[in-house]
Symmetry: C2
DNA sequence: AAGTTAAATAACCACCGGGTTAAATATACT
DNA sequence: AGTATATTTAACCCGGTGGTTATTTAACTT
């Protein structure tokens, strides 16, 4: 009922070309040649990337004459978001600790200033 | 200054064994043998998976006598969350459209009922 | 010093992923 | 029918990945 899409999704996302294609598709449908333009890469290479994205369910393709426009398909991205969300507490915890650390630094700095202030006045 | 970690992170996450290891580490540090227990897999295989996770910056390892406890390292997961967040509007939009669709179905259903009600009474 | 446990490394194998070039297919245009 | 454009498929290369078994290293134990 709920097959594990995560492996193929992550595998598809593990390539900068494919992530760039997704980013492009975020601003609307596009045919293959247009998707290929930014890349110094042959058409078959792009075609393969698109197949990977399609099999992962990250894009869907239609037909318009000889063009095959691609569009973003968001559900698998939501699955990624849901998955990573389970770990949120870990990075927020880390940020908290960083925050504590910075506060502590600030505190020490203030104490240093107080000391300085208490000292004999510097020359200038 | 900000190297692209996403590719190695996604690649590391594209394996169910490695995701299971991360899930285990979410409940605390563990040495290699304990991480290996749930899997029907040789120790070197686990060792390789851990190396992949470590190189991706998803875990960190320390030393305690002959044990090498692993702990979750959250920053790369945060990068994943931040990345996928850019696409949030797409799945929320899709859900909205689904919602619209369901509302419309409901509406038609109501209209059908009204028609039925207006018609000659059915047999039973 | 010898033995035990934890873990990593070496060497190997099969397969897959990302790229190429060349050829095939699909659709539109004239 | 013939040509042009868009895209895919085929065949190939190479390096990386995921697994194995056998060996080695590291640290503790007796």
């Amino acid at each position: 009922m709920s097959p594990d899409h995560l492996s193929s999704t992550f595998a598809a996302l593990a390539d900068p070309t494919r992530r760039a294609i997704l980013a492009r598709l975020a601003s609307g449908e596009a045919p293959v040649t247009e998707l290929a333009k930014p890349f110094d890469m042959s058409m078959p290479a792009i075609s393969k990337h698109l197949k990977v994205l399609e099999h992962a369910g990250l894009i869907a393709r239609s037909r318009d004459a000889q063009w095959r426009p691609c569009r973003l398909e968001a559900s698998r991205l939501k699955e990624v978001a849901d998955w990573v969300e389970h770990y949120r507490r870990f990075w927020e915890q880390s940020l908290d600790r960083l925050d504590d650390y910075l506060r502590q630094l600030k505190h020490q700095e203030l104490k240093t200033k107080e000391k300085k202030h208490g000292r004999k006045q510097p020359k200038h």
